[in-house]
Amino acid sequence: MLKIQQLTGGYTGEAILKNISFEVEKGELFGILGPNGSGKTTLLKMLSGVLPFSNGNILLKDKPLKQYSARELAKIIAVLPQHSSQAFSYTVKETVSLGRYAHQQGWFQTWSEMDEQIVRQVMGQTGVAQFENQDIQLLSGGERQRVFLAQALAQEPEILLLDEPTNHLDLSFQKDLLDRLKGWTNERNLTVISIFHDLNLAGLYCDRLLLMENGKINLDDLPNEVLREERIRAVYKTKIQKQSHPKVPAPQMVLLPEIKDNQTDDVSIDEALLQISGEYLALKSPIPLRTMSSGVVGSGTGWHKVFINRHVDKNYHCDDYRDDMVAFIKENDFEPGETVGMMTAVMIEDVDYQLLRDVDFSVLIVVTAGVGNAIDASRSMEHTFQLSPGTINTWVFVNGHLTEEAFIQSIMTATEAKTKALHELEVRDKVTGSIATGTSTDSISIAATQRGRHLEFAGTITPLGKLIGKGVYDCTIEAIKKSRQRVKI
């Protein structure tokens, strides 16, 4: 569709673009990225034929761009500028109708039935039909942007060029615009080439990305390849971190702020922070902790300040146990958004906890354990599913800085230690009679201050793994003993 070959040029005298070559296929949503001054807008201007280039070539449908007249070009390429000036108060329809200019033939360029139909259609598609007779100067930025999008679409282009289309739009319009564009590339094979400021939007929507740096191409590849931490850090010269999008397979970049409050550098999570009451066990941290958990609320990864283990009756049954838990958290004056919450039928007093220290980090283990539902995981097929609260809840608080893999390894280590504890106490699965590996509803939470020592791994024989393994094993045994005693009594 569009081939750019060794493109070089810029404004008077000075070459802003140096030797740019790439191709864009039909129906692609092609993103152009790069820091300010990298030549993105210059490139787009050359593609739209507004700015002449000194060397190289642009082939549009295998024919040099320079051989197209302005009118011919306008039938193939439409442009949505970053901002458009309007000195006079045209109506929305008048503005959109101008997009038909290239298609109108002959001396008098009469307005045909077809022109009218297309203008109506694009006004409908962009949602500006209701403003048809309004003055564009009186519209909001987002509405006006959509009017100019309609104008560009009225050209019935095969290629749409956009310069930071979402720049002045609020969040819903940004998403709306890009959803539409993405839809059109699929449905009608529209080719979209767009400059993006927002790496995340580009990563979400683009089929391919071109990363520019100082007028040259740094990389032209799939979003996942272009949006690599080291590459973006080097090109944009800033600290960012890559993450995967929680719902769709798209890379996302997050900024890392430089500001740090030094006052809370010596925060330490220890048993003094534990509040034990009949109804619940809580730990309130002075700072948000990075957590990975399987709680009823606050599950997955996130940042949380409050950890709650709520006591419920053995026969507790609630369809909306999540909502019920949120309500419970609110009742007790905690903030559900920053809370990891779990449930247990075990008496809260039977909790066992332990602070374990190494040279420059420490781990607090908190376990409540009930083994009424003990199950042998290797033979769990013999059970029918039933959610009941006789359960082992394990909390691990680390005063240290964990990597993502250390979080996962912590879970593994803690689980192995728990299983070993059940083995040691010969807790048996009631159905199969074999030694149980856990209960059917065990929960775990790993939380770290993310300050102090870097702990890269948490496998069983790493410094962190050793503390977790020992702590969880000891606490689980003690907690099971306590709850067994109570049951016996």
Binding site: S69, A70, F88, Y90, Y101, Q109
Partner: protein, 352 residues
């Protein structure tokens, strides 16, 4: 209020043309009728009708009236009308092209440039071979075109974005410089001071049919070119880059519009001197009433502009009768405050 008014009327273009033609017709009849000798309107219709259809005059009509109408008032009114129409449509085109509601041949300095050309022709007796009586408009037009090119060149040098105020400031500086130059030239040739004022403030008195012959062909050519480019002016009023995206051959169309604007201004100035603000006030008013679409704005400006200048001339020659004021005095007294209002509205919009 203004906006409501606009909404209400802009929907009916036929009404616009009807009202504009009625306005022009009324202005013409008033212009011919009123003066030191008053001619009844019915007599005017009789006299002009007799002239056109070549029948003998009704005996009730005074032959002196016939003489006044045919040789003095009618040519004057037509000349004023053509000058007004030329300046108004040129102003509308300049405003659209430059995206500048303050642009008109006067504020851009084009009128002054054209005056220089006219004054050179008249006071130094320059004559282009073969051009004959068209030497005057041709030189005026040439100077008008050179001036607008220079003004735009300098404005671009000062500020690449070509802000509204920059263009106007450049135009006014040129205008002021060229005005001084005209005064110097006229003074050097030893003519009266009144002549200078006549050129600086403009006048359509005592010109006769000859001058109509001079301006008319240029009015036709210039207006034709602009009307053929109305759509392109619409596109360019969204910015030159935008116009090119839409498919307009901007370089060519822009040049055509500038040439046509210079032709109209140059020819108008050649016959009447520099009459200010007609090209500012009329397009602005027309746009306010009927919307900014140049396909209608341009022709409507022709009607309204000519009617307006005929009335301005009427006021100029009657208000302190028997002395005649230069017509530019009247147009400037109306135009300068309008200029101020537009400028203030722009400021307010930008702040708001």
């Amino acid at each position: 209020m203004q906006k409501l008014f606009t909404r209400k009327f802009s929907t009916n273009k036929y009404l616009a043309y009807l009202l504009a033609s009625v306005f022009l017709l009324m202005a013409m009849l008033l212009g011919i009728s009123i003066g030191t000798v008053s001619v009844p309107i019915l007599d005017i219709i009789g006299i002009i009708g007799a002239e056109i259809f070549r029948y003998s005059l009704n005996e009730s009509i005074d032959p002196m009236h016939s003489n006044i109408v045919m040789n003095i008032r009618l040519p004057r009114v037509i000349l004023a009308g053509l000058v007004g129409a030329s300046l108004a449509i040129a102003g509308a085109a300049f405003q659209g092209l430059l995206r500048n509601p303050l642009a008109d041949p006067y504020t851009l300095g084009v009128s002054s440039g054209a005056s220089v050309g006219a004054v050179i022709t008249l006071f130094f007796g320059v004559s282009i071979p073969l051009a004959g009586m068209f030497t005057l408009p041709i030189l005026s037009i040439t100077f008008a075109f050179l001036t607008i090119m220079m003004v735009l060149f300098f404005a671009r040098r000062i500020d690449r974005g070509m802000k509204v105020e920059t263009i106007i400031l450049t135009g006014i500086i040129f205008s002021s410089f060229l005005g001084a130059f005209i005064s110097l030239m006229i003074a050097l040739t030893g003519d009266e001071l009144r002549q200078i004022i006549g050129w600086l403030m403009g006048s359509v008195s005592m010109r006769g049919w000859d001058y109509i012959n001079i301006i008319f062909p240029f009015f036709l050519i210039g207006s034709f070119i602009l009307l053929m480019n109305a759509k392109e002016i619409n596109a360019m009023s969204f910015g030159e880059e935008r116009a090119q995206h839409i498919g307009v051959n901007v370089q060519r169309r822009k040049m055509l519009v500038l040439i046509a604007g210079s032709i109209l201004t140059g020819a108008a100035v050649a016959v009447s001197g520099t009459i200010g603000f007609v090209g500012l006030v009329i397009p602005h008013l027309t746009r306010l009433l009927w919307g900014p679409d140049h396909r209608h704005l341009l022709p409507l400006s022709i009607f309204t502009g000519s009617g307006f200048l005929i009335l301005a001339d009427l006021v100029a020659r009657t208000i302190i009768s028997p002395t005649e004021l230069p017509i530019g005095v009247i147009t400037s007294m109306i135009g300068a405050p309008v200029f101020a209002v537009i400028l203030m509205n722009r400021r307010k919009e930008r702040r708001g």
